[in-house]
């Protein structure tokens, strides 16, 4: 039967692991947004080379599971002499992987923007950088917020995979806890509660921004 005390006791060790989940997620989100934006810009740019690179980036990073990316990055790169600290490896892999998805979300939203929007900026001689930052992205951001929040929430959960490089985050901690108490149901539900708490914050932030940017 479901045991409430076990459920409640599970929180303490999990909370301790939650800080790593948070750390990796927040840094990963920031990195993913930045790289994702750049990749999207590359995919929509006039240069064939950049477009090709962007296409490959997305295709590769969406095609190969994050777990494999992590394993390769952390366990195979040392063979060629590139040794990275676990936290750095985790943030880089999570962020880079998210960038592929984020860039696609941007791309969709930008496709739906009326053409005149960028034209008006170009007509006054605004630089491509400013056009992106001031005109295109704010509108794409507002339109794609629900999908973007989706992606960020997925990223928080995907951060559980970084345990393969030895980082004790929530999922890992819950598995350990489940294996010592032999009560996985209680422990997993406790872990789910912590994820839910983090993700509710993200969702609330998304809702807030949706209201702020609604036109």
């Amino acid at each position: 039967m479901f045991s409430i005390p076990v459920f409640l006791e599970s929180f303490q060790p999990l909370m301790w692991a939650a800080q790593y989940t948070l750390l990796i997620s927040v840094l990963g989100i920031l990195l993913g947004l930045v790289i994702g934006t750049l990749i999207c810009a590359a995919r929509l740019s006039g240069s064939r080379l950049l477009r090709g690179f962007g296409g490959l980036w997305v295709s590769f990073l969406r095609g190969v599971p994050l777990l494999v990316q992590l394993l390769v990055f952390y366990y195979a790169l040392p063979v060629i002499g590139l040794d990275v600290a676990p936290t750095a490896a985790a943030v880089i892999c999570v962020g880079v992987c998210a960038s592929a998805y984020i860039s696609e979300i941007w791309r969709g939203a930008i496709a739906a923007l009326p053409r005149g929007q960028a034209e008006a900026a170009r007509a006054i001689g605004m630089s491509p950088r400013d056009t992106w930052i001031r005109i295109i992205l704010p509108q794409a951001f507002s339109m794609s917020l629900p999908a973007l929040v989706n992606e960020l929430i997925l990223l928080v959960k995907a951060s559980s995979l970084v345990s393969v490089v030895g980082i004790l985050e929530i999922t890992r901690a819950s598995q350990a806890q489940a294996a010592t108490t032999f009560r996985p149901l209680e422990v997993y539900i406790a872990a789910a509660c912590i994820y839910l708490a983090i993700n509710l914050c993200l969702a609330a932030l998304g809702r807030y921004l949706e209201h702020r940017t609604a036109v």
Binding site: Q117, E119, A121, I124, M126, D130, Q139, V215
Partner: protein, 256 residues
């Protein structure tokens, strides 16, 4: 401010198989107002958009102050940086306004001043407020475009362009959504700009406007530039029957 001149020669433009501009030749003198009239779909907007290279023309040349627009040499497009440099001297008011919906009226106008002209924010906003006041929108500076009426949106678009103080201004039906009173006011603003030495190209369906303000009027039809003449010439002694037909209905209707 040094007004620009524009030389358009043998410009052709195709949309797929559709021939939208046919060997267009037009010389736009500096500091003057040139009005572009003609039936719907005759290529007026397309020509205007070729001048600031929003539309790439397929052959021929557009020269602003002698400099070839858009190409370094025939067939080789110029770098983005050079293009931007040239566009800074050219303002445009779009037929569909193209206001930025996520910015207020004030921000729409100030944006270019800050990002392109590099003015500090406070000064840019002061200038923007000024431009909006000129078009009668002092009380709507804080509204987003979605909360403005059609005519108000059009005036923001006009303010956005004139605030940049370009040497050459392209207007695509700048008064289509304005009531007569405002048309008068906007006209005055434009007249002042012209007298200060701004070159203007105005696509318009308001013949009265063209007759009063233009230094020269160009008539287009089916992608061809049929005639360029003084307003006097076009409106009172049109050399081409097509112009005559075009004007007749207008004359009939607008008398009341």
């Amino acid at each position: 401010m040094q007004a620009s001149s524009v030389e358009i020669s043998k410009v052709n433009k195709f949309y797929g198989p559709f021939h939208a501009l046919k060997d267009v030749d037009l010389s736009i003198p500096p500091g003057k107002v040139t009005c572009l009239i003609g039936p719907s779909g005759s290529g007026k907007s397309t020509l205007l958009r070729c001048i600031n290279f929003l539309e790439e023309y397929d052959s021929g040349e557009v020269r602003i102050d002698g400099k070839l627009m858009g190409y370094d040499a025939p067939g080789r497009k110029m770098s983005g940086k050079k293009l931007r440099q040239m566009r800074r001297g050219v303002g445009m008011v779009f037929q569909q306004f193209n206001l930025w919906p996520h910015m207020t009226a004030l921000q729409n106008v100030a944006e270019g001043l800050i990002r392109v002209r590099g003015l500090p924010k406070s000064e840019a906003e002061a200038r923007a407020t000024d431009a909006l006041r000129k078009v009668g929108l002092a009380d709507k500076t804080g509204n987003h475009p979605a909360r403005l009426s059609g005519g108000q949106q059009q005036r923001v678009a006009i303010a956005r362009a004139i605030a940049m103080e370009p040497q050459l201004m392209l207007f695509d039906e700048p008064t289509s959504a304005l009531d007569p009173e405002l048309v008068g006011e906007v006209l005055n603003v434009m007249k002042t700009l012209a007298s200060e030495g701004m070159t203007m190209v105005v696509v318009t369906h308001e013949m009265g406007f063209a007759a009063h303000v233009a230094d020269q009027v160009a008539f287009m039809e089916k992608g061809e530039l049929v005639a360029v003449d003084s307003p006097q010439g076009i409106f009172h002694a049109p050399k081409d029957e097509r112009i005559w037909n075009f004007l007749r209905t207008y004359r009939e209707r607008n008398a009341f």
